[in-house]
């Protein structure tokens, strides 16, 4: 019974982190048609910056996460202007730039902290009893942050002027700019948002599990899976796909070995994509 509850808790938390990271990626992908292969690295660096601020500089947890997010957001604006904007419609050069970025970020982390794994200390100590099991407050907080942010993103995209402008650009770039929407400014904001979401997810994962210079690679794969299964332009699709992936990742390793469950998950994903390449909830992308 505790196994079930623990698995459900695990599933929810993993899903929320996957969804946050995937939303960040989707911002760039839907709006700017940029496939940011460095998204995982940004997620990773967000986590490490959070760690540095908390452990090395003694910031309060909440302040640290906020600061890490702002730092990464600023970095995102810089990246958008210099690394991605020049190559907006050129997939080849974008990929090159992303790989360069990943190498730079991973090497930097490697030099500064080495590759020993570390974890961000918990937000809050203690646990409470939910039925027969103990659930740490930590996990509750992590999950809540995820849900709150998710709600904020949905509200932002659907209710604010800025969000609607982003939707416009996603659907028709040329048309939007003819309407007077400042594409560059909005792209910068979108990039900042996308990177922020990744950074938060990185910090959360850093507390929930651990940090490692290669956690970005793993997360990138999960994000790509979620975004491709969801299809372009659908936030609801990302939530559902994120939940499905979170469930698979929480449940399967209990039954099978770690490696086998990874293989099964990918096999399922490949089959699903062959059945419906454009994703199950969104529209098809012409590239």
């Amino acid at each position: 019974m505790d196994l079930v509850v623990a698995t459900i808790a695990n599933l929810l938390i993993l899903s929320s982190m996957y969804i946050l990271a995937a939303l960040g990626f989707a911002f760039l992908f839907n709006m700017l048609q940029i496939c940011n292969f460095a998204h995982g690295a940004i997620y990773m660096i967000g986590g490490y910056i959070g760690y540095l601020l908390i452990v090395a500089m003694g910031f309060n947890h909440w302040v640290a996460i906020l600061s890490a997010t702002l730092i990464v957001a600023a970095f995102g604006i810089f990246l958008e202007k210099f690394l991605f904007r020049p190559f907006v419609n050129d997939f080849n050069r974008t990929v090159m730039v992303c790989v360069a970025l990943v190498v730079i970020l991973q090497t930097t982390v490697d030099i500064m902290v080495g590759s020993k794994t570390m974890a961000i200390p918990a937000f809050v100590e203690g646990a409470f009893k939910a039925g027969p099991v103990f659930i740490s407050y930590e996990r509750l907080v992590t999950f809540s942050i995820g849900v709150v942010l998710l709600g904020a993103v949905i509200w932002f995209v659907n209710r604010t002027r800025l969000g609607k402008q982003m939707q416009a650009i996603a659907q028709n770039r040329m048309g939007a700019s003819l309407q007077g929407i400042n594409i560059h400014r909005i792209s910068a904001i979108a990039f900042a948002l996308g990177c922020s979401l990744a950074a938060v997810a990185g910090c959360l994962m850093g507390t929930y599990l651990r940090l490692s210079p290669f956690m970005g690679d793993l997360m990138l794969v999960k994000v790509l899976i979620i975004v491709m299964l969801a299809g372009a332009g659908s936030i609801g699709g990302i939530i559902i796909a994120g939940l499905i992936l979170g469930t698979l990742n929480a449940v399967l390793p209990v039954i099978l070995s770690g490696a086998a469950s990874d293989a099964v998950i990918i096999a399922i994903v490949v089959i699903l994509l062959l059945i419906r390449p454009q994703g199950f909830f969104g529209y098809e992308v012409e590239m």
């Binding site: 292969f37 020049p86 190559f87 050129d90 997939f91 080849n92 050069r93 990929v95 090159m96 730039v97 790989v99 360069a100 970025l101 190498v103 730079i104 991973q106 090497t107 490697d110 030099i111 690679d217 794969v221 790509l224 899976i225 491709m228 070995s257 490696a259 086998a260 990874d262 293989a263 990918i266 096999a267 994903v269 490949v270 994509l273 062959l274 390449p277 454009q278 992308v285 590239m287």
Partner: protein, 341 residues
């Protein structure tokens, strides 16, 4: 008349014809010259370490050029590293469990990888651009996971050991064998690309509608491209297996594929020599900057950024760009003299 419908020999002016004839003669001569120099390198350099680097370079050149061959059909596969892995593990397992000698495992691994590639290619061939790329990416990742989950058969996470070495481990022998295989692979892929087969692949890439309307079976040709690419990826993997005698699944993961893609892009995806140049540069530069130690990856990243910003057509375009800038400047000087400005 040369009989080649795509050339303009014999129909153009004498100057162009002369240039074409020279190209036809000069290019193979230069290539042969380069190969001769490379063949003499071990004698000239006497460094086992350099031999080791060059051997790796040969293996990755085969993989990079064959990756590019697939891309001329308009498909952008992101699983080439995994196919190298399939070839490596096929050869390794045949060597370890079946006791097959290398002259059997190498062709068997290449053919096996080709077969698997074409089989997988069948459902994937219907996918367009982005979805093909992503699908192949996930497939490649899946291959690594399957290898990892292979228990004692594949050695799982920790890898496969005990693969037969060749020539008693003599690096010199490996060097010449792999040099030969690389040259043969390059020639084979070159012939494919510049024959009507390659032409049809390029046609499909430009407009599959038009290609179909003249009778070209798009799916069949796309699978052919993948099959050829996978054959050589498998060959490269098998060479890797017998050279290193141990395999680890992490060597063939998504990052491995991504680096192969980098070798192709940095050299120039639109040129046959591109992947060769790219592989050499991206392997040799970090090796020769060993003094930088842990900072050396920054150099590779810098290379990627420089090429992305300054040389979008890849490093192969560098001589062309330099020469045309030089000629332009000369012409500029001349015309200012004449006009007196």
């Amino acid at each position: 008349m040369s009989g080649d419908p795509f050339s303009t020999d014999g129909l153009s002016d004498p100057a162009t014809a002369k240039r074409n004839r020279m190209n036809k003669f000069m290019k193979p001569m230069m290539a042969a010259g380069v190969v001769a120099v490379i063949a003499l390198l071990p004698v000239l350099l006497e460094s086992i370490y350099l031999l080791h680097i060059l051997i790796q370079t040969f293996i990755y050149i085969i993989a990079a050029v064959s990756l590019r061959t697939i891309t001329i059909s308009g498909q952008f596969p992101l699983a080439h590293g995994a196919f190298m892995g399939i070839g490596a593990y096929l050869a390794g397992m045949a060597s370890k469990w079946l006791g097959w000698p290398p002259y059997l495992t190498l062709p068997a691994a290449a053919l096996g990888t080709m077969g698997i590639g074409m089989l997988i290619g069948l459902p994937f061939a219907r996918l367009r651009s982005l979805y093909y790329a992503m699908g192949s990416l996930f497939f490649g990742i899946g291959v690594v996971y399957i290898i990892r989950a292979g228990g004692s058969l594949t050695g799982g996470y920790s890898g496969l050991t005990g693969i037969q070495a060749m020539f008693g481990g003599s690096k010199l022998a490996y060097y010449y064998l792999f040099l030969g295989l690389t040259v043969a692979s390059i020639l084979a892929l070159y012939r494919l690309e510049f024959s009507r087969i390659g032409n049809n692949l390029k046609a499909i890439a430009q407009s599959h509608q038009v290609a179909s309307s003249v009778g070209i079976n798009e799916i069949w040709y796309r699978i052919l491209a993948v099959g050829v690419g996978c054959f050589f990826a498998g060959l490269a993997g098998a060479c890797y297996a017998h050279y290193n005698t141990v395999l680890s699944p992490a060597s063939f993961n998504f990052m491995a594929t991504l680096w192969l893609v980098m070798y192709v892009l940095i050299g120039g995806i639109n040129s046959f020599a591109g992947p060769i140049v790219g592989t050499i540069i991206l392997i040799l530069v970090p090796e020769f900057s060993r003094e930088l130690k842990e900072y050396s990856p920054y150099l590779s990243a810098a290379l990627l950024l420089i090429v992305a910003y300054l040389m979008p057509k890849g490093l192969v375009s560098l001589p062309g760009v330099v020469i045309s800038r030089y000629l332009e400047r000369k012409k500029g000087e001349k015309s200012t003299d004449v006009s007196g400005n």
